[in-house]
Symmetry: C2
Subunit: 80 residues, 2 copies
């Protein structure tokens, strides 16, 4: 099974990468850009039999390694 | 309009972040993980009237700043 884990910053957390990207785009002349925010995606291929098992494992991976719950939140999207 | 720009590595390009994440997950005991690849998403809010304009501008942003065409490819997804 293949899963995309989307990781983004929680509301109110500063996003320096997004801010810097917005500034750079505006300096390049893209004046219509209102905001830019950055996100991270991990595409994970996992060898389990059911979606329930995959979901449970992915949640544990997020808690143990992939996501910092103080500043980030995540969602899971099925690819296959 | 709000657009997500998904940036990923082209086929055959090494993905050290994905590889390191896979190794770390396996060391933590997630033996069912077969592969991990990393992607980047920029969520861009742009103030134009039509989707065509937005698409054209986003493509220029990718070419000029966001994407390194030697090793990366991108796709656009509409959020709003």
């Amino acid at each position: 099974m293949i899963v995309d884990v989307y990781i983004e910053l929680k509301e109110g957390v500063a996003d320096p990468e997004g801010e810097a990207t917005k500034k750079a785009l505006r300096l390049l002349g893209f004046r219509n850009v209102k905001s830019v925010s950055s996100r991270k995606v991990f595409r994970i291929e996992i060898d389990v039999k059911t979606r329930e098992e995959a979901e449970k494992e992915i949640e544990m991976m997020c808690e143990k390694l992939l996501v910092n719950p103080v500043i980030q939140k995540y969602k899971i999207q099925w690819v296959e």
